[in-house]
C-alpha cells in the first residue's frame, strides 16, 4: 500500500473546502431568492404514503433529485429522526402541527421563502401562514394537506345519528367505543369540555392549565370503562368496525372510506362541538445538505395534480385549491368527499394538532406541556 503523504491530506482538505460553499442557498442570513441547481439527491422523512412512486418518479425524472424516503410512525419519531446525527442526515420532513413547533423552537428546521413555490398563491388563505409553521411572519415550511378527526359510527347499530361528541362518552354504547391510542387525544376531551362545561373556560384545547387538564383527564378516566379498545393503527379501527366489536368512535376520513368500500354501513361527521385535525407541512432541515432539491420538492408537491394524487391516495384535503378539478378528474366525486376547497367556516371548525407547551399564549406559563400529556395518557389507561 502507498503511504499517505502530507500532500494527500492537503488535497482532501482542499476538496472538502470546495464542497462547503457549493450548498449555496442557505449561505448568509437572508432567504434565497431563486432555486439553484439540484444536488442530485434528497433525503426525506415522511408519513407512510406521502412519497408514493406515482408522484416521486416524475419528480426524479424532471429534477434529477433522487428521493430517499424514510417513513416515520409518529410525530415523536419524526422529531427524533430530525435530530439524530447532528440533524444533517435528512433534508426535509412532512411534519404535523404537533411536531412542527417542536422542530422550530428546537432550531431543527430553517426558514423558507414561499415566493419560490409558484403554487403557494393558490393555497387556501388559512394555510398560507398558519400558526403551526409560521412564527412572526417567518415561514418554516410549506403547507401540504390537512384533514379532520371525525366521529365515525355504524348506521345500523347507532340510531339516531349522533351529532355530538357526547356519544363517545355515553353509557349507551358501553364496550362498543374506540378512540385513538395517542396522548394528543386529550385535546379531543378538552374540545368537548369547552362546549359541555363552559365554566372551565377552555379556549384552546392544546393550551390547558392544570384545572382544565385534570377535568379532561377525569372525563377520559370515566370514559375508559366504556372503551372496547384504544386503537394504535388505522387498520385496527377498521377491523373493530368490521367485526362489530366497535360501533362508534373517533376516526380519520381514511377509515370511513375504507369501511364504505368494504360495504360496512358507516358514516362520519364533524360533531357540533367541532373537531381536532391535522395539518401537515414540508419543512427543511436547518442543516440540509440538498437544499435546492428540497425547494424543488416543495414546489413539486404543491402542484395541483400531485396534490390531488396524494389527497386521493391518503384520504385528506389538499392545501392547493387548484387541485379540486384534478381530484374529480382522477376520481369523480373525490373533491367533495374530501372537502377540497372547503369554506372558511369548515376549516375554522377544526382545531389543528399542535404541540402543547407550558406557554399558554396569553403571557402565562402555567399550561401543561407535552411530557405531562404523555405521562397522563399512560397513567389514565392504567
Amino acid at each position: 500500500m502507498r503511504k499517505v503523504t502530507r500532500w494527500h491530506v492537503l488535497l482532501a482538505v482542499f476538496v472538502a473546502a470546495l464542497c462547503v460553499p457549493a450548498s449555496g442557498v442557505s449561505a448568509g442570513s437572508g432567504l434565497p431568492t431563486k432555486i439553484g441547481k439540484g444536488e442530485g439527491k434528497l433525503n426525506l422523512i415522511a408519513w407512510e404514503g406521502y412519497t408514493q412512486g406515482q408522484w416521486v418518479k416524475p419528480f426524479q425524472k424532471k429534477t434529477g433529485c433522487i428521493v430517499h424516503a424514510k417513513y416515520a410512525g409518529s410525530s415523536d419519531e419524526m422529531v427524533t429522526l430530525m435530530r439524530q446525527g447532528g440533524g444533517s442526515q435528512y433534508d426535509g420532513v412532512s411534519a404535523s402541527g404537533d411536531a412542527s413547533l417542536r422542530l422550530i423552537y428546537g432550531h431543527d428546521v430553517q426558514a423558507v421563502n414561499p415566493k419560490l413555490i409558484p403554487d403557494y398563491k393558490n393555497f387556501i388563505p388559512a394555510l398560507k401562514s398558519p400558526p403551526h409553521n409560521t412564527i412572526k411572519g417567518v415561514h418554516y415550511g410549506i403547507s401540504l394537506q390537512w384533514g379532520p378527526n371525525t366521529l365515525l359510527w355504524n348506521t345500523k347499530k347507532v340510531k339516531p345519528a349522533p351529532t355530538s361528541w357526547s356519544a363517545i362518552y355515553s353509557k349507551a354504547y358501553k364496550g362498543r367505543i374506540t378512540i385513538p391510542d395517542n396522548p394528543i387525544q386529550i385535546a379531543d376531551a378538552a374540545l368537548y369540555l369547552s362546549k359541555a362545561k363552559p365554566s372551565l373556560g377552555i379556549k384552546d384545547p392544546y393550551e390547558l392549565n392544570s384545572t382544565q387538564f385534570n377535568a379532561a383527564i377525569s372525563l377520559l378516566k370515566k370514559q375508559k370503562p366504556l372503551i372496547k379498545k384504544y386503537w394504535a393503527l388505522a387498520s385496527d379501527e377498521i377491523g373493530l368496525f368490521k367485526s362489530g366489536d366497535a360501533v362508534i368512535g373517533a376516526s380519520w376520513p381514511y377509515q370511513t372510506n375504507t369501511l364504505k368500500a368494504d360495504k360496512v354501513p358507516v358514516k362520519d361527521t364533524i360533531p357540533k362541538e367541532g373537531a381536532t385535525g391535522w395539518a401537515d407541512t414540508w419543512m427543511m432541515s436547518a442543516h440540509a445538505k440538498h437544499p435546492n432539491c428540497m425547494y424543488k420538492w416543495m414546489a413539486w408537491i404543491s402542484t395541483p395534480k400531485v396534490q390531488a394524487q396524494q389527497a386521493i391516495f391518503f384520504g385528506e384535503t389538499p392545501a392547493n385549491t387548484k387541485a379540486c378539478t384534478w381530484m374529480n378528474k382522477l376520481s369523480p366525486g373525490s373533491a367533495s368527499l374530501y372537502h377540497c376547497g372547503a369554506s372558511k367556516k369548515y376549516f375554522n371548525s377544526i382545531k389543528f394538532w399542535k404541540t402543547p407547551i407550558a406557554n399558554c399564549g396569553n403571557g402565562q406559563n402555567n399550561c401543561m406541556d407535552y411530557t405531562k400529556w404523555q405521562q397522563a395518557w399512560t397513567e389514565m389507561k392504567g
Partner: protein, 292 residues
C-alpha cells in the same frame, strides 16, 4: 515455523485452561459488551431526566423516575397485571403440557411420537403476528367462537379484546416452550420407579403425586422460565389483542421510548429485570437448571 507450531500446541496441551479461555473468549466478550454493558447503561439512564421542552436527556442524577413509578398507582396495576398474567399463562401451560408430554414420552410409539413433535413445533414455523391475528379473528364479536356458540344455542362469549384474550393467546403461543422441557423430564423417569410405586401399593394418583411430579418438577420449572419471562417481556399481544385495560410493562416502555422519555422507560424496564432475577433464584433452588 514447524517448531513454533509444536510449541504452540504443546502450550495449550499443558495448560488446558488457556485453551478453554481462548475458546470462550469471543462469546464471553460479546456477552459482556453487548449484554451486560447495555444492561448497565439501561440502569444508569434510569437515573437521568428529560428536558420537557427540547426532549434532550439531562445527565442530572436523581431518583424521580423511580419515585414516579412508586407514586403513580397506574404503574402498580400495570406491573401486577403483567406479572399476574405471566403467572396465569405459566400455570395454564404447565397443566396443558403435562398430559401431552406424558403421552409423547411414555405412551406414544415411534410414529405417533414423531407426529406429536411435528404438531407441537409446527406453529413455531409461522409468524408470531399471524398467530395473534388469527386468534383475533377467532375471538372477535363476529368470530368463529361466537358463531359456534350461537350455533349450539349458547350465549356469546365476547372475550375478544379483553385480558382473557391476552391470557389465552399467550398460553397458546408459549405452549411449545413448556411441552419440550416437560417431555424431557418425563422421559428421564425410569419405568422401574413407577412399577416399584405400584408394587408398594400406590394408586395412580399417589404415584403421580409422590413419584412422577417430584421427579419432573425441575422440567416444569425450566419450562416456566420460558413461559413466564416471554410473557413478562411481551408487548405485541396486549397491543393487538388486548382491550382498554391491557397495558403491559412492555407497552409503557415502548410508548415512553417513542415519546423520547427514555430514562423513565429504563426505570420501568428495571422492574421485570428484578422480578426475573428473583424468579431465577427460586428456580435454581428447585433444581430447574439441571433439567435444561
Amino acid at each position: 515455523m514447524r517448531t513454533a507450531r509444536v510449541r504452540f500446541t504443546g502450550f495449550f496441551w499443558r495448560h488446558r485452561w488457556a485453551k478453554a479461555l481462548l475458546l470462550l473468549a469471543p462469546p464471553l466478550l460479546a456477552f459482556a459488551l453487548v449484554y451486560l454493558a447495555s444492561l448497565v447503561a439501561l440502569f444508569l439512564s434510569s437515573f437521568w431526566t428529560v428536558d420537557p421542552f427540547t426532549s434532550e436527556i439531562r445527565h442530572a442524577w436523581n431518583i424521580d423516575n423511580y419515585r414516579q413509578l412508586w407514586q403513580g398507582g397506574a404503574y402498580h396495576s400495570i406491573a401486577f397485571r403483567t406479572i399476574g398474567i405471566a403467572a396465569a399463562v405459566t400455570v395454564a401451560d404447565a397443566i396443558l403440557a403435562f398430559p401431552l408430554g406424558y403421552f409423547m414420552a411414555r405412551i406414544a410409539g415411534g410414529r405417533s411420537r414423531a407426529f406429536a413433535f411435528v404438531a407441537v413445533l409446527l406453529p413455531l414455523w409461522s409468524s408470531y403476528l399471524i398467530r395473534v391475528y388469527i386468534w383475533r379473528l377467532i375471538l372477535d364479536h363476529n368470530g368463529v367462537l361466537n358463531w359456534t356458540l350461537q350455533k349450539i344455542g349458547l350465549p356469546a362469549a365476547n372475550i375478544g379484546y379483553t385480558n382473557w384474550a391476552v391470557w389465552l393467546i399467550f398460553t397458546y403461543i408459549w405452549l411449545p416452550f413448556m411441552i419440550l422441557p416437560v417431555y424431557g423430564a418425563l422421559e428421564r423417569v425410569p419405568d422401574s420407579f413407577l412399577e416399584a410405586s405400584r408394587d408398594l401399593g400406590a394408586g395412580g394418583w399417589t404415584t403421580f403425586r409422590r413419584v412422577l411430579l417430584p421427579l419432573t418438577l425441575p422440567g416444569v420449572i425450566a419450562g416456566s422460565i420460558f413461559t413466564f419471562s416471554l410473557t413478562l417481556g411481551d408487548y405485541i399481544t396486549p397491543l393487538l389483542a388486548g382491550g382498554a385495560s391491557s397495558q403491559f410493562i412492555g407497552n409503557v416502555v415502548y410508548d415512553n421510548i417513542n415519546n423520547q422519555l427514555t430514562p423513565f422507560a429504563a426505570a420501568f424496564a428495571a422492574v421485570p429485570l428484578a422480578v426475573m432475577g428473583v424468579y431465577l433464584l427460586i428456580a435454581r433452588r428447585l433444581g430447574a437448571f439441571e433439567a435444561l
